[in-house]
Structure formats: C-alpha cells, structure tokens
C-alpha cells in the first residue's frame, strides 16, 4: 500500500519535536478526520533555519509531515509558501488516493506557521485556503469514479 519512502519517513520521521520560542507556529487538521499537524518554525533572514513538527495521524500524515519539513528546511519563507501537497506526495513516491488529503494537511500547516511568523513580524498575511478548498483544489478529479 505505501511506498518505501513513506514507510521510511513514517518509521524514522525527520524533524520531530518542538522549537522553544518559535518564530512561527501553525496547526492544521482536526480530530474529527483523524489528523492534526503542528509546525514550529525558526526563521532567520527570511530563511527557514529550523523546522519541527508534531503530528497525530496515520502513517501518511506522519510521513508527509516529515517530508514536508525536509523540503522546506533551508528554503526562504516565500519558497516554503509555494510548496504544494503534490510536491510532498511526489517526494514520497506517491500516496494512495484516499491518503492524498494528508499531504494537503502538511501544506496547510506550513501556511499556518508562515502566516503566524508574518503576523508576529507585522508583515502582510497571505490568504489561507481552508482544508476543504485545498482538497477540492488539489484533488479534484481523483475520486471521480467512487
């Protein structure tokens, strides 16, 4: 069911934990659908120097968190904002169709953390799409045949 990469990131998740006094914190998901992801950022010179996550959720949620944090670490905030769920899923060598929403969650949580960072810095905040909008936006067409 899962790719080797997913299993690796699930079993040995990178960047697990918290950052004390983070520059930005964001959370996405809710207990109803069974996934909650929390992202902590340390930003210096507009670059993400450190990132940590805590995730409640299934294997693909944990692997997506791990992979997403890897992908944005060292990137500028701007670049991190543009990380799509598809990029996360691709970096994991794919996710089962029913699990794509987990990668959406990672995108959301990072957006939330970045906006928190911007808010703290007094920078203009970007519009966050809701989870449903993101799922609609990114996954439209995938489940047509259900």
């Amino acid at each position: 069911m899962y790719s080797e990469k997913v299993l690796d990131h699930f079993q040995n998740p990178r960047n697990v934990g918290e950052i004390e006094n983070p520059d930005g914190v964001g959370q996405a998901g809710n207990p109803k659908c069974g996934d909650i992801m929390k992202i902590y950022l340390r930003v210096e010179d507009d670059v993400i120097r450190d990132i940590k996550f805590k995730t409640f959720g299934c294997a693909s949620a944990i692997a997506s968190s791990s992979m997403a944090t890897e992908l944005v670490k060292g990137k500028t905030v701007e670049e991190a904002w543009n990380l799509t769920n598809r990029a996360v899923a691709e970096a994991l060598d794919g996710l089962p169709p029913v699990k794509m929403h987990c990668s959406v969650l990672a995108e959301e949580a990072i957006h939330a953390a970045i906006n928190d960072y911007r808010r703290k810095k007094g920078l203009p905040v970007e519009k966050e799409e809701s989870h449903d909008e993101l799922v609609e936006h990114h996954l439209h067409g995938d489940e047509e045949e259900k």
Binding site: F10, P13, N30, G34, I36, T55, F56, G57, C58, S60
Partner: protein
C-alpha cells in the same frame, strides 16, 4: 523468522486443517451438482444434509430451517430485504441499532432509500441496547427488529433473549446477526425466540465465502438471490458443496470445544487487558466488562495516537491487530461503533482491537505486553494531541 502474533481472529480465522480435510473430497472426487437426480450426486446431497444438521444442532433449530449463503453479508442482506419486501403490506418500519456491522447498516440505509422507515437505536456507553429504548421505538408499523448478537468491534453481547421474548410477544420478526457469536457463545434460537439468524463460517475456523441464514419455519420472507431452485427454492446458485461441508465441520468442531476454548481464551484476554491497562497510562477499555463480552475480544483506545500508526508499528513487531480508525478503512469517519458508545473522535481514531483465538498463547500475550507500551509511548511523544491532553489533564486535577 521473527515472532508472529495474529490477534485479528474477529476479522477472520484460519481454516482448521481438519475442516480443509473434510472439504477436500468435494473438489475433485465428489463434485456432482447436488440438485441433479443421478446417484453420482448422492454423496453430495448427503454431505449437505449432514452440514445442515450440524448447523441446526448448534442453533437448536430444525435442519430445514437452515439455508446456506455465500457469506455472512449475504445472510444479513437477505434477512433485511427479504422480510422488508415480503411484509410491506403489514408495515414499513424496521428497527436496528447504531452499532451493527456495515452489512446491516448499509442494507438498512438502502431500505431507507427505498421507502422504508428505519430506526437505528442508540446504545449505552458499553455498547448495550436496552429493551426500554427498543420498546419506545416500536410502532404498529414495525415489521422487523434486527439486533446483533455480539458486536464485532467491542465484543459486547446484547440482551438477545429479552429482545426475542418482547418481539415474539408483539408479533414482530426478530433477526440477529450472530456472525461474531456463533460457535463462540451458546445460542438457542428457540429459547431466545429468534426468527432469523445470520452466521459466517470464516469466523469459527471454516472457509471464507460461505454463511447461512436460519429462518424459523413459517416466517414470511422473499428470496434475495433469484435463479435456480436450490435450497428448496429459496436461495439460487449451484451449491458450494465443499464450502458447505466446511461450514458444517467447522461449526461442529468449534462448538464441541466452545466451553473449554472460551475459558482458555477469555483468561488470556483478561491477562492482556489487565496488562495493557497497567502498562499504558491513560488507556481506555472499550466495551463491556469481561463476563458480558465475547471471550476473545479486547478493544482499547489510546488517547493521542492514531490507530493506523499503531497497527503499522505493531506490524513491524509481527503483531497483527485492527483499529476503528478511519484511516485504515478508506473513509474519513472513525468507527460508527466507537462513536455510538460516546467516544470522542480522538479516542475513536486511537482505538486498537485485539482478538484472540485457537493459536493464541500466553507467550503471545506477554510478547504484546512487552512491545505495545513502548510503541504507544513513542508515538505519543510526537503527537500534538497528547501534549494538549496532558496539559488539560494536569489542569483538571
């Protein structure tokens, strides 16, 4: 090879080698169509008649009241749809519960779409339906009550005899999905006033793909599977002779050892429950206390972790269980059973079902107890929910 501990007997059992042996002649040697009149099929006809007797003797019915099907699901579909359509003129109201297996739940919803009025009864925090709730739901249009004998997720045994007596008195047909209960706990369709009962072979060491529906003589029910005149004109399809023989052999074997197996297995199960409750902080046992649940069922919720995660971590340790988490089923909602007993979404998503069986040993349980607490601890440490829970818990004190 690493240790393998299968603890998902409620999902399906292996087929007992003696059952396989009983089935074998019916593949290659005695393969004739039992509905043919020639002598070549005599052995098959007799074998099916024998299986019918074996089932009847375990349920306390007459052999002619047993009809073989292709699964427990088919028996459930048949019972609900067949009673509904045949008794439409008497009423269109059906009562069942919120904790039924999907085979009943989805059939009930299908009937709702087709003009029936279906009530799904609430259950208490341990998963028990109360006679009072049922009584309140009955109307003069009620034609069928369907309450499962024992729940497949949390193992809670329902007050079947009470419900049966009430339904009989009110002249309402009573069906019970006994797929999890058959050959695991004593059943007597007469004493319990059961009109229809579903069972499935692969839950008691028989083959997959064969089940049965008990239909009390005189019950008015339409056919579900239309076609040839097999099963005395009531269930079409060339008889699955080997499967039926397997079901018969399995039910006989399993019920002959039921008392001793139940004692042995419930002892191990209690050892598992006690061990987990001690070793895992803030663990919750779902379902009824030991005496009122299936002997082989344990169901826990571990706040802060998600079930699929747990399954995969246990899998790496060679332990095979199941969860009520949505993630493992492809839907987004967690187990309807766990929600119905009042669990929060967090707890429902964090559930683990371990069900024991014939090959479960004390060493297996000890092995689980040596592995599970560590896994829970580790995953909780990376969970934002656990963090929040601990904070609110500390505040609460």
């Amino acid at each position: 090879m690493a240790r393998q501990v299968y603890l998902d007997y409620a999902a399906t059992t292996f087929t007992d080698p003696r059952v396989v042996e009983a089935m074998n002649p019916y593949f290659t040697r005695s393969f004739g169509n039992p509905s043919s009149i020639y002598s070549f099929s005599e052995e098959n006809r007799r074998a099916i008649a024998e299986a019918r007797k074996q089932v009847a003797s375990v349920l306390g019915s007459a052999p002619e009241e047993i009809y073989f099907t292709g699964s427990g699901t088919e028996a459930d579909n048949w019972a609900l749809q067949g009673i509904a359509s045949k008794n439409r003129s008497k009423g269109n109201h059906i009562i069942t519960t919120k904790i039924e297996h999907h085979a009943i739940l989805h059939t009930g919803q299908f009937l709702q779409k087709n003009g029936y009025d279906v009530t799904f009864l609430d259950v208490d925090a341990e998963g028990r339906v109360s006679l009072e709730t049922l009584k309140k739901a009955v109307t003069d249009k009620t034609i069928l009550v369907s309450v499962m004998f024992a729940n497949n997720e949390i193992g809670t045994i329902e007050p079947i005899a009470e419900i049966g007596a009430f339904c009989r008195e009110r002249g309402i047909y009573f069906h019970t999905d006994a797929v999890q209960a058959t050959a695991h706990v004593p059943i007597d369709v007469k004493a319990m006033n059961i009109d229809l009962l579903s069972l499935s072979a692969h839950k008691f060491y028989g083959p997959k793909g064969v089940g049965a529906l008990y239909i009390k003589k005189g019950v008015k029910i339409d056919n579900f599977m239309h076609g040839g005149a097999q099963e005395r004109g009531r269930r079409a399809s060339t008889e699955n002779v080997a499967g039926i023989v397997g079901l018969g052999a399995a039910i006989e074997l399993a019920s002959s050892r039921m008392a001793s197996a139940s004692e042995r297995i419930s002892r191990l199960r209690d050892m598992l429950i006690d061990g987990v409750m001690k070793a895992v902080p803030h663990a919750k046992l779902n379902g009824a206390p030991s005496g009122e649940r299936l002997p082989n069922n344990a169901n826990f919720s571990f706040i802060g972790i998600e079930g699929e995660t747990l399954l995969l971590d246990l899998d790496r340790a060679g332990i095979y269980g199941s969860t009520g988490s949505a993630c493992s089923s492809g839907s987004l909602d967690p187990s309807h059973v766990l929600m119905a007993i009042g669990l929060s979404h967090e707890l429902a998503h964090g559930s683990l079902r371990l069900t024991l069986g014939e090959e479960t040993t004390e060493e297996d349980i000890q092995y689980v107890l040596s592995v599970l607490p560590g896994i829970v601890k580790e995953r909780r440490e990376m969970s934002p929910l656990w963090e929040d829970y601990l904070k609110s818990f500390d505040k609460g004190r």
